[in-house]
Symmetry: C3
Subunit: 643 residues, 3 copies
């Protein structure tokens, strides 16, 4: 406990005002069933309080103790191969097991009740990275039973389920509910069964988190509840049940990093998000850690909507499966070293600017990208060709200094000018209505892939796509050509890896490129073919179609993927059509984000950068004079404009 | 059922006169045990009859319904890893399970009995692609017991089995029949055990097919019975038990495609074969589908001996594990599109020529290639080096417009001039006699690899090869050098990948190349060394040996593989020695096949082709004038000569 | 038995004076439980005796008979995945199973007792390649129980075990001994658990060998006992329990081959070692067998300390899993061929020189390399970066014609001048004392990697490395940068594969290169930074540090791997510092080893070689005149100097 005071002192001196504790510590909290030892936890929280450090308390349920799984083997995950998980790792327990849920409730209740007295326990994290288990989803008898109940709720009768899943194929028909088991990718199960299994697991994980959240809210109604992300879950639905979206972000450069932050901000609209884990080193010098990456990345986090950043970890673990990481704030010896200094300076700089940064509005976007989990799961889990457009469209926007809001298909579109649809296999009637209204009102849609060719259960419709928006998009389409068959876990015809050329003229410019993965067989229905395919059985057919309606328009690319340069040109065209003005042109590696009155300019690269940018007001940090920003390597400049 | 009439009409209009139905439809035929619903099937057959469409009826046994495997778990495959198969895919049931066999018999009997009344049910397909299960061969207790019985039949006593398998090695001796289990490749089991396991599984699959065929014959003696191929089965033995060889051929270009057709024709001699599944697109443009491939491929099928072609499928499946394929005749919407048109034209063209095509003799070959399943299975399943000569010899012949008959080692050789032996590990006394007579009578044998070095059970003989034909081949040989160790499932010394140069003079031409996989250590015994090795411990020793006997001769290449160019030169030399005259020299991608009075000339390529070919008679399709054929891309010309 | 006499005669004629028999022959020795048939064995030994051939008798326990594992399934290995091994391969039985141990004792006792009468049974081999099972280590209930007992012995209490393993992490704490199971690499278990599992399995295998050795010693106190190597065992400990180190060496060229021989000699100091299996062909011509490799390799074996060489095998097996090998002395037909002749000449040549070769001292080394099994196992089994320095340092020494003694950390260092430490994670107090004394006395240490950063149980110390030798090495260090994350079985961040440049001046020469795998964050403490890093967060920090103490010095490279050229330069510098004089400069592929008064010069290459080498005395074989050695390809020259 002496060390604890040393640590708290070092934290405080570095401007750290919140710590995350308790994660995975179940065996020390409850060393045997119902026997709790929490004095160390009380003491820790009190020491933190004395140093004016708040606490984000974690439930420890991602790491069940040895006694628990030994005494109650029904708490262990049964993998899709029928093998039971075991003690010795983490996340080895079943989210639906009543026994496990009972134990989780008891420890959560105990903690929430005991710690209610502390003013500095201001937030809770449920479990850890829910769904990220090396054993995969659980397929135990109880999960199977819960899946059947879930299906009964959804379909009512076996006849309806057989119809909805297309079970006529391969004698898949069920004649008794007991015959149904969870489907999983990699087992070549029917697409509808795989999709419903994904949906079920998503619901299960959210339900698991909500149960713990409910207990905490009873005892600590004022605390903010989050979790540090979900795996294979509908994030919009998952975080809607909590108070904050959280995420652990270690990796990524450029657009991947920025898009990831945008996604985290989008998970829970109108709310800042939390970086529950981030490292100090980042990846700078040829992919190796470079501590001077910390400050620019910290400003990226803030600029794109984070209002809490927790560094993982205070001090590297000496033992255990994650021993020896070199990314802690302290050295493994417990001494402050180079990383501590980097963190301290960056945190204290931000604290000094607190009056400027407090209560800022979140950054806003004119462009939204539709994220449809049903489509993502169907593409990932079934034999459909991959769709990589989401990442590629995101990259185009990032390069033009434009933020993206990622939204589900039932979100209001009023605030946006351009809607990107990388993958929407099924267009529900309300979504169709919303899209049509958006275009009529002047919005622009840029879509790709097997748009509207499916029903709600991953079956092809017996109708040409994009159903029911053939008029809005100006064409009808059949399933065309599968160009590529590589797919995680599922090999079909692995030697096919085709590219199909397309070319045409857009906005007076001659464009050409190649389609990959899949391309559609299109019949025009009023639309204007901007580009055409050149080869295979689609020779001469439309490859990119534009259709104007009201004040808006749709643009559709008849492929799951096109090469980056072509996509960038089409996105550019769509932005112009939508009247979205890109951000300033700046050197490579420089990021510009506006948040409220602040223009935050970040140099993520090892070279200095200088360029003009017109803003009223002056810099609150960095070098800005006569419209010119001058940035040292890894430097930041923040300009505050009068409101 | 309305749609059924629409479909039948569209079929009829496209010249379709036979449909394949019922495959995998068990859960709709027998939704619960012993409860049959077949009205839809009766109606389907009647609608077809009304449209003058015949029916190839399938037994549905490749897709057991959920109720069956749930109520009778002993019907499920137990994989070689001991794990049980499950509902949700297909081919998950055991071919020996008495319970499963009983259910298969009942549904087969029911269908054959009920449909006996229909004149247009003219043929039956047993099961589907027998042996093509993602669970592999079944290793359940019943299969193990059947294997022991099979071994008792074969060996009589344990002492004889221990001797025959060489069980002295590694303490493999059995002291009780109960100790014996199926061996499988990848488990490093003894070669004799692996080979007998292959033989057993082959027999099991044939027995399974024959049981269903027997039931059908009882009720429908006039129907032709086939199946759409077997996996890991002695095809000669398998199709001997049925009326037609069938096959599903989607892939392949050039020689691979043509050789595959020749193999299918060869499976059942003196009988045309059936293409039970083929697609419309083929692979044309850079490996992507191109519908104009359909017509030339259709003519290849016909030229090489097929008299039925079924396109898979009429309309792409909307649901299920094979959803969305773009290869159906109709679009997934049920409309006729580009593929329908292609199929219609090709079918109607052929029908218009019916008088020329009817009752034609099968194409004949002067060259036979010996296919020895024991050798194939021993090489595939054991630690022997791969033998790729079968494909490579086939390619040489194809490029010279020569057909191949693939034959087992007990087939009469009278009709052939050249016999290719890519791999014959064991030469049985009758086979030895037959080969010797063939050569004495003027035949030429071109052989390769570990010829006659083994006994009938995959053990090396304690004698030099090629036993007992050392005189006929003019040399004796020891096991020489293993040049390559890569082998599916079995890794020995994976970094060895050697080539051994060989050179010499054949027919006045200086030839050189490299041996791969394996090479023999040869002592001449009268033979003439055409080429010698250059390097390793075989430096200076014979690599290709020729020996003349009577009016014929043998040529032996002391390797499992040589490079293509060298092999082509040696094959060329063997053809000349055998007096086999190759087909006409034609441009690349052009195929010429004679069937009866017809010379069928097919351009499989995207470029036009024109060349001279001397034939009496004239073209019944295509452009042939003054001995000159002119072909558009993907075009066909058929010349009919007076008999 | 007639054949046996033929074989013995052929052996004798080839100079063979010892044969290894009985391995894997259990089913023929004891065809059913307790029923022994050994007449064939008696006869074999008698025939050998009559031909003056001695016998190395093997216990057959690496191949349990079918009846044994069927009647006693608790003898079968349970793999780490919970699956049971099976009959049909070898090494499928559990080393701790009391039932199996009982059967092993009985057959060993029977053999040792029965064969005690034979004078020519002079040596025994325990089992075969102990630990080399395709099923991996056994995880059966009995092994688990034994592991718990082993842990109780080591740690006494659960509290101490929980502390020692760092079980606070991820709730790993045990509250009952029953909760503990064996950890294994690939399962992401805690490092301490993985390390103790390795230690346990090593002890288990040694105990298994010792049990059999004890029985044999009772009956045949004069026989020498060996085994043909251990897998994943502390070889120093393992061979200390036996009379001779044995090894099976087929592969390897140049330094890998020579270092391997040096390691085998080092396993049991002050004792020659036995080549229990070697082949005739070696790898000569482009990696293919070339029999003229046999003689030079035989002399390498002898030069580096072997006094027995057994060729595997007398005659290739006709049947079984190892059938058809082309490396036997005889042909598979039983005839003498090229290999027999090569072996005969080489053996007879050596026998003719017997008076010169007998009772020679072992070769001596001035350079030792520390082999620390705890470090090896921790690096192999846990998430630590790979350390390849052992092989690379060995290559440098080989190229300078220097032998290496491989030694454990508790070995006396007096005889050495230079000590190489490629990986020593934990420095125990006695080892620290020994290293410090070594340097003070004039020794030079060249070390790399995560030196002294761990405690005895694979946990990081809360102190800077190299603990406790910061003064001896002249610096302290933190965990620095992980440059590479590829690791067998464990994938962490697979796309990281970094290199970090370093440069500096050593001994007046400008050197530069790159660090790989891992690099340290160093603070000097008196040491001299010979090179520095250039990039990442270590920019400008020391990369190679030298510190002088007494008459000796330490040199430390702050990386797990550097490129070969740089390492060679640093090793060269260390050799000079240590006053170790390299061997003569000779052409590539030539090896020079001194053993007692002999200088053995071997040409392993296909080209002739001639060079000067100053020795008193003359050649007992080969061409040596006026200080000049002339070697034909694959030739040997042995010079004997007066003592």
């Amino acid at each position: 406990m002496e060390r604890l005071t040393v640590d708290a002192g070092l934290m405080r001196a570095a401007g750290i005002n919140i710590v995350r504790i308790g994660e995975f510590a179940w065996s020390r909290m409850e060393p045997s069933e119902g026997h709790f030892i929490l004095d160390w936890l009380h003491e820790t929280i009190r020491v933190m309080a004395r140093h004016e450090i708040r606490v984000l308390m974690c439930t420890p349920t991602a790491a069940a103790p040895a006694w628990l799984v030994k005494n109650y083997p029904d708490t262990l995950i049964i993998g899709k191969d029928g093998r039971q998980a075991y003690h010795g790792v983490r996340q080895h327990t079943c989210y639906t097991s009543p026994t496990y849920r009972r134990h989780c409730s008891r420890i959560t209740d105990k903690l929430a009740r005991e710690l209610a007295e502390y003013k500095n326990v201001v937030a809770w994290q449920i479990d850890n990275e829910i769904g990220c288990s090396m054993f995969g989803n659980c397929h135990c008898a109880h999960c199977q039973e819960r899946f059947r109940e879930w299906l009964k709720q959804r379909y009512g009768t076996l006849a309806e389920l057989n119809r909805a899943w297309g079970n006529v194929f391969w004698s898949m028909d069920y004649t008794d509910w007991d015959e149904i088991t969870l489907g999983d990718r990699g087992l070549v199960h029917s697409p509808a069964r795989v999709l419903d299994s994904y949906r079920f697991f998503s619901d299960v994980k959210i339900d698991y988190a909500m149960a713990q959240a409910g207990i905490i809210r009873t005892h600590q109604p004022g605390a903010l509840i989050c979790t540090n992300n979900f795996w294979d879950v509908d994030h919009f639905k998952g975080f809607a049940a909590l108070d904050r979206a959280g995420g652990d972000i270690y990796r990524g450069e450029g657009f991947a990093f920025a898009n990831n932050l945008d996604r985290h901000r989008s998970y829970k609209p109108r709310s800042p998000f939390w970086l529950t884990e981030a490292d100090v080193g980042g990846e700078g010098w040829k992919g190796l850690p470079h501590y001077n990456r910390f400050r620019p990345r910290l400003w990226s986090f803030f600029a794109r909507g984070a209002d809490m950043l927790l560094v993982f970890q205070w001090r590297p673990f000496l033992s255990g499966q994650e021993q020896g990481g070199a990314g802690g704030i302290l050295e493994h010896t417990g001494k402050a070293g180079a990383r501590y200094e980097v963190v301290r300076q960056a945190f204290l700089e931000m604290q000094a600017l607190a009056s400027h940064l407090h209560d800022l509005p979140l950054p806003t976007a004119k462009v939204a990208m539709l994220v449809d989990y049903d489509s993502i799961w169907t593409i990932a889990g079934c034999r459909l060709p991959d769709n990589t457009a989401m990442a590629k469209m995101g990259e185009s926007l990032f390069r033009r200094q434009l933020l993206i809001d990622f939204i589900p298909s039932d979100r209001d579109l009023n605030q946006y000018r351009l809607l990107l649809i990388p993958a929407l296999l099924h267009i529900s009637p309300p979504a169709a209505e919303r899209l049509a209204q958006f275009v009529k009102g002047g919005g622009v849609i840029l879509a790709m892939g097997q748009l509207g060719m499916f029903d709600a259960n991953a079956n092809y419709l017996p109708l040409p796509g994009p159903e029911p928006l053939q008029d809005l998009f100006g064409f009808t389409m059949n399933n065309g050509v599968r160009l590529n068959t590589s797919k995680a876990n599922i090999e079909i015809r692995s030697d096919q890896n085709g590219e199909l050329p397309l070319s045409g003229e857009i906005d007076g410019k001659r464009l050409s490129g190649v389609a990959r993965m899949w391309s559609a067989d299109i019949n025009l229905k009023g639309g204007n073919p901007l580009m055409t395919f050149d080869g295979s059985c689609l020779d001469g057919q439309p490859a990119v179609v534009e259709q104007k309606t009201g004040r808006g328009r749709t643009i559709y690319i008849a492929a799951n993927e096109v090469d980056n340069e072509l996509l960038a040109a089409i996105v550019h065209y769509a932005l112009e059509a939508a009247g979205v003005v890109p951000g300033p042109e700046v050197p490579d590696k420089v990021e510009v984000v506006e948040r409220g009155p602040l223009t935050i300019i970040i140099n993520h690269g090892p070279d200095p950068a200088a360029f003009d940018i017109k803003r009223s007001g002056g810099a609150i940090i960095g070098n800005y004079k006569d419209s010119r920003v001058s940035l040292a390597p890894y430097d930041v400049c923040v300009i505050k404009s009068p409101v």
